[in-house]
């Protein structure tokens, strides 16, 4: 019961940041999925979705991560040409709001999965011209997901992902196994 309540906006410490975070991601997805209903101009939809994806990438990396969960990552070039990836985590004393954290990690991981499914769909429907756009989306959202996971090596991400997976798969397994067993033994 407490888990359901934890996904409400009113408990968040940074509702505006959360709103923008969800807003950009949802806007990119919806524009891609429903854009063709409103206009037949491929170029226009492509540009809008790319700009939304870029805005979402920048926003997640530079604003959402540090405000909601106190994590940040970037890449520096050293003078001799090496590429340095830096993953920064906040002071352990910093209080991180539970709702923010749950929202952040859930949406962070589910976005690349959704775009991945859309990529599969585009391949199956043989729409290669849209596939280029979806691949960009997958790369950008997956990069953020992986980088923030790396920032949070000792932290909450694994706990939340594991608990969600366990709950969903337990429910599925129960229904599946229950039906199977009743059919086999019920006659």
């Amino acid at each position: 019961m407490a888990e359901e309540n934890a996904f409400s906006f009113s408990l968040s410490a940074h509702p505006l940041a959360l709103g923008f975070f969800l807003g950009f991601r949802l806007a990119a997805l919806l524009t891609y999925i429903f854009g063709l209903i409103f206009t037949s101009n491929f170029v226009l939809i492509f540009i809008i979705v790319v700009l939304l994806l870029a805005a979402d990438f920048w926003n997640t990396k530079n604003v959402t991560g540090r405000l909601l969960v106190g994590l940040r990552w970037w890449n520096e070039s050293s003078p001799n040409g090496d590429s340095i990836w830096v993953f920064e985590s906040a002071d352990p004393q910093r209080v991180i709001n539970g709702t923010d954290s749950r929202f952040f990690w859930t949406v962070l991981y589910s976005t690349p999965v959704i775009w991945g499914l859309l990529a599969l769909l585009a391949i199956l429907k043989f729409e290669l011209i849209w596939l280029s756009l979806v691949i960009i989306a997958v790369i950008l959202s997956a990069t953020n997901a992986m980088a923030f996971t790396r920032c949070d090596r000792f932290g909450k991400a694994n706990g939340i992902a594991n608990s969600m997976l366990a709950r969903s798969s337990r429910g599925l397994m129960q229904r599946f196994a229950g039906g199977l067993i009743s059919r086999v033994y019920g006659g």
């Binding site: 940041a17 101009n41 491929f42 170029v43 492509f46 540009i47 790319v50 700009l51 870029a54 920048w58 530079n62 604003v63 540090r66 405000l67 106190g70 940040r72 890449n75 520096e76 070039s77 050293s78 003078p79 001799n80 040409g81 090496d82 590429s83 340095i84 990836w85 830096v86 993953f87 920064e88 985590s89 906040a90 002071d91 011209i129 280029s132 090596r153």
Partner: protein, 200 residues
């Protein structure tokens, strides 16, 4: 702060220990990046060759970002697709967009494989920012249909792009005899895009 090296890139974990940028207002973050983009555009395109300023300018571009390349690439693709025949325009758009990014990656890979001591994203940043002169070229091609007028103007613009990118790459630290080998894909890259502006 611990540092490890993985496939040639270093990875650092840092604990934020104070200072004000972790909790800064979003506006500050935004403005900082916007100003950085503006500085980089001016830096990559500045035609003056002054050795004493080079160290500082190197620092400015070394902090790379891909906003400039994205915006110029979008404008270029858009302009070229507008002046393309109607049934080809979405193909031209996505073709040019894909070409720019894939070619930039290949040119950078070429430089790295020749032993260039420049970071991958840094090189892509420079190549992307130096696309800027070709954007007015492509927009000009929408207005002027005569190839004979387009040709000299686009040649000048290609030259500007080449000059800007080569000056900023500065041979990218490849060995002496191989500088031309590393640079000629750059010439091909801008030359091809300039040619597209002429024939579109």
């Amino acid at each position: 702060m611990d540092t490890r090296t993985v496939v040639g890139d270093q990875i650092q974990d840092r604990r934020f220990a104070g200072g004000d940028t972790l909790d800064e207002p979003v506006w500050d973050t935004l403005m900082r990046d916007v100003r950085a983009v503006g500085r980089r555009v001016k830096e990559v395109l500045r035609p003056k060759v002054d050795a004493s300023i080079d160290a500082e300018s190197g620092q400015i571009v070394r902090e790379w970002d891909l906003w400039g390349p994205l915006i110029f690439c979008l404008f270029l693709s858009l302009a070229l697709s507008i002046s393309a025949p109607a049934q080809q325009s979405s193909l031209v758009f996505s073709g040019v967009f894909a070409f720019v990014w894939i070619a930039e990656a290949l040119v950078t890979l070429n430089i790295k494989l020749l032993g260039g001591s420049i970071s991958f994203f840094h090189a892509i940043c420079i190549l992307g920012y130096a696309l800027f002169p070709l954007v007015p070229g492509a927009i000009f091609s929408i207005i002027v249909k005569n190839m004979l007028i387009r040709f000299p103007i686009d040649t000048v613009l290609i030259g500007w792009s080449l000059f800007a990118s080569m000056r900023t790459l500065k041979g990218a630290g490849v060995r002496e005899g191989r500088v031309v080998l590393a640079m000629y894909p750059v010439w091909l890259f801008y030359g091809w895009l300039g040619w597209l502006c002429v024939i579109t």
